[in-house]
């Protein structure tokens, strides 16, 4: 837990562009909240790898949102069931059901439908809010956080030193 917080702080305190971090968390939200083994997540991984998204944020976020998904599954089931049995959408769903790619994606599963709609709807607001919060954090809280014991302790660890060396190496490349 402490390690995770320290990693989060490390990501936030790094010089990485806020958009890359918030995009990493936003993609993690999609990958973590939706059923993990699905075709849609291949697309998410491809985007995460190809776009200059912060991978640490994505990995940390995926772990966090996957744990959160266990608690939210009942909500996603109800949302998905409402959507999939909504008369107004019946024609659309029937057409999609008869299209290979959607069927392979298992869109007709209530948890999948609920979670994908939930995470896609929140995607853009999440990125924008993330950007804003990271900037505010760096401007107002960073100096205070740097002095906290947890950050000091984190900086004293071998893992942090290894991370620093890796960053130096990357900046030289």
């Amino acid at each position: 837990m402490i390690n995770s917080i320290a990693k989060l702080l490390s990501i936030l305190n790094s010089g990485t562009d806020p958009s890359q971090i918030s995009l990493g968390f936003a993609f993690a939200m999609v990958a973590g909240l939706t059923p993990f083994f699905g075709v849609h997540n291949l697309v998410v991984f491809l985007l995460v790898m190809v776009l200059r998204v912060n991978l640490s944020a994505f990995i940390l976020g995926t772990a966090f949102f996957s744990a959160l998904a266990y608690g939210l599954d009942p909500l996603f089931h109800v949302m998905g069931l409402k959507l999939l049995t909504w008369d107004a959408m019946r024609g659309v769903w029937t057409d999609m059901y008869n299209t290979s790619i959607f069927k392979v994606a298992r869109f007709n599963n209530t948890i999948f439908m609920g979670s994908i709609v939930f995470s896609v709807l929140l995607f853009v607001p999440f990125v924008l809010a993330g950007n804003l919060l990271i900037r505010k954090y760096r401007k107002h809280i960073l100096s205070y956080v740097e002095k906290t014991r947890i950050v000091q302790a984190w900086k004293a660890t071998g893992m942090y030193r290894m991370y620093q060396s890796y960053r130096d190496l990357r900046s030289r490349l």
């Binding site: 562009d17 291949l42 991984f45 491809l46 995460v48 790898m49 190809v50 776009l51 200059r52 266990y70 599954d73 996603f76 089931h77 998905g80 069931l81 999939l84 049995t85 019946r90 769903w93 029937t94 059901y97 008869n98 290979s100 069927k103 392979v104 298992r106 007709n108 599963n109 209530t110 948890i111 999948f112 609920g114």
Partner: protein, 578 residues
């Protein structure tokens, strides 16, 4: 800032390649476990697979060493298949539809022993009890009476206490009703009133007194008659019950004789005793497998339907398909079965749980010729769920020229029977429509060398039956199964019944008569006391009824007398009640 990370694309493909390699390494195990898990849940006993081998180009699967435990006998496999191989339609598989054009199933063996139990739950008891096993010896009467609930004793005991209770009740009621003294008092009162009246005022007063007296007597007579009627009905009911209870010993004797001693009637159905258990077991087994097959049947609907999954996995909503394809379909399975007589080959067509979509039933056809010890055999049938609410199944199984060698029909028990040699032809026809089951077995056995009974048998019946059966060279057997799949009956007739009836009938009749006489004496002696008590109590109730009737009669006479003495007959003054 650059937003594209081209090296990431390379990394993505490397990761995908690694994941695919891992998937391909582990997929065989995953398929193996899936088949075992799914099969076990359908069969209700362990389904095991030695190996599954998936090939990608062309897309196909080979299963080796499939064992399906017999749920009714967990130490045996109902079916064992050496090798199952098939190709799959890749596009349909992506849509989660398994479509197999042709499957080859070879090395199939039936009813093979297992090394360990394949039970996952306690085997369900057979739907039918074994037909009563006849011991051919008559038990001791005292022992029979100790363990049997006798209707005669129960009825006589109940009757005695109930009649006694009612008699006491009526005696008490009788005491509270007007008795002879009260009637005498009425008579005296009547005598006093009926003297001569001269003046009109005296005449009216006399008439009023007589009417008041008559009303009093009528009220009392009403009470007496009501009780008399009640007592009469009760007495009549108890008379019927006593008569019924008196017949109970005879009924008990008949029932117990039929149960414990062979009767001529029992002898008529001995073939059911010998063959019934086996036929029930076969029928139950077929019905059990039919039930298991139905577990995979699904009703396709043209409306969206919600298919609930286990907790945490949501629910799949199924929508109508423009070109519906079954979730699982094997168009043709070529099966080769090894039986001790040789190989039987056959095919099963259109195996699917979605017959409504294909519009075709599952059909199977097996046959074998030039087999060892068997001229020919054939099995054809159909499992039809095209209209799910009107299921129709049929099967026809024919065996010709089956050479019997040391077949034991009944090993233990009092009358072991074994066919040393013989020739059998038999055919089975079975139809199930909705829930109605109708099946017939016809068998003809000839050239028999039959061994029956024990060499040192002392029981005269068993000795006679054994000798008679040993001389049998051939017989016919007809069995009919009729009823519903949950509750069916079995009728069996055979030439053997006639043989046994003729040979051992006299021995049975003599023994049964002896048992019956002893039983009758014992039961009658047990029932006599309570029954005679009940009769005595009933006689008291009848006495009460007589007494009440007499009182009622006396009161009626008095009322009649009073009415005659009313001199104002036909005279009516407005406002007066007469």
């Amino acid at each position: 800032m650059k937003w594209i990370r081209w090296r990431g694309l390379v990394a993505f493909f490397i990761v995908m390649a690694v994941v695919s390699a891992f998937w391909f390494i582990f997929i065989d195990g995953i398929i193996e476990r899936f088949i075992e898990k799914k099969g076990t849940s359908i069969v209700g006993a362990k389904v095991e697979l030695e190996k599954a081998d998936l090939s990608l180009f062309p897309l196909g699967l080979t299963l080796t060493g499939l064992q399906v435990t017999d749920p009714g006998s967990p130490m045996r496999n109902a079916v064992e298949a050496g090798r199952i191989a098939f190709l799959m339609d890749g596009m349909n598989l992506l849509l989660r539809k398994v479509t197999i054009d042709e499957m080859t199933v070879s090395g199939v063996r039936l009813n093979t022993p297992r090394k360990s139990s394949g039970a996952i739950e306690k085997p369900a008891p057979g739907r039918h009890e074994e037909p009563p096993f006849i011991t051919f010896s008559i038990p001791d009467v005292d022992e029979v009476l100790k363990k049997e609930d006798l209707e005669s004793i129960r009825l006589a005991g109940e009757l005695e206490s109930r009649v006694k209770e009612d008699r006491e009740k009526y005696e008490k009621a009788l005491k509270s009703l007007p008795d002879e003294k009260r009637i005498e008092a009425y008579e005296e009162r009547f005598e006093r009133i009926k003297g001569k009246a001269k003046t009109p005022a005296e005449i009216f007063a006399k008439a009023n007194d007589l009417i008041a007296l008559r009303d009093d007597i009528k009220a009392d007579a009403g009470l007496v008659k009501t009780l008399a009627s009640d007592v009469g009905k009760t007495a009549s009911y108890y008379r019927e019950r006593v008569e019924f209870a008196s017949g109970a010993p005879a009924r008990d004797v008949k029932r117990l004789t039929e149960k414990y001693a062979l009767t001529q009637q029992g002898l008529m159905n001995l073939s059911k005793v010998f063959f019934g258990g086996q036929i029930y077991a076969w029928t139950d087994k077929v019905l059990m497998w039919r039930e298991r097959v139905d577990k995979v049947s699904r009703v396709y609907k043209a409306e969206p339907e919600v298919e609930v999954k286990p907790r945490g996995r949501g629910a799949d909503v199924r929508f109508p398909e423009s070109d519906p394809v079954p979730d699982f379909l094997i168009r043709k399975a070529l099966v080769s079965v090894n039986i001790p007589s040789g190989d039987i080959s056959g095919e099963v067509l259109d195996i699917t749980g979605d017959q409504q979509i294909t519009g075709r039933p599952i059909k199977f056809r097996f046959s074998g010729t030039r087999l060892k010890g068997l001229d020919s055999m054939s099995l054809i049938g159909e499992v039809n769920r095209v209209v799910p609410e009107a299921a129709k199944d049929f099967a026809r199984f024919d065996v010709k020229g089956y050479r019997i060698n040391d077949f034991i029909l009944s090993e233990g028990g009092s009358l072991p029977i074994a066919f040393r040699k013989g020739l059998a032809d038999f055919s089975v026809n079975a139809n199930i429509r909705d829930f109605k089951l109708d099946a017939a077995l016809n068998a003809a056995l000839s050239g028999l060398d039959l061994a029956a009974g024990k060499a040192d048998e002392k029981n005269p019946f068993l000795r006679a039956a054994g000798e008679a059966l040993s001389d049998v060279k051939g017989f016919g057997l007809n069995a009919a199964v009729d009823g519903t799949v949950d509750n069916y009956g079995l009728n069996i007739s055979s030439d053997l019944d006639q043989v046994l009836r003729e040979s051992a009938g006299r021995v049975v009749a003599k023994k049964a008569a002896l048992f019956q006489a002893e039983l009758s004496e014992e039961i009658n002696s047990k029932v006599a006391a309570p029954l005679s008590q009940a009769k005595a109590q009933l006689s008291s109730i009848t006495g009460i009824q007589k007494e009440l009737d007499e009182r009622g009669l006396l009161m009626d006479r008095l009322i009649e007398e009073i009415t005659k003495n009313l001199q104002v007959k036909g005279f009516k003054i407005p406002g007066l009640p007469f």
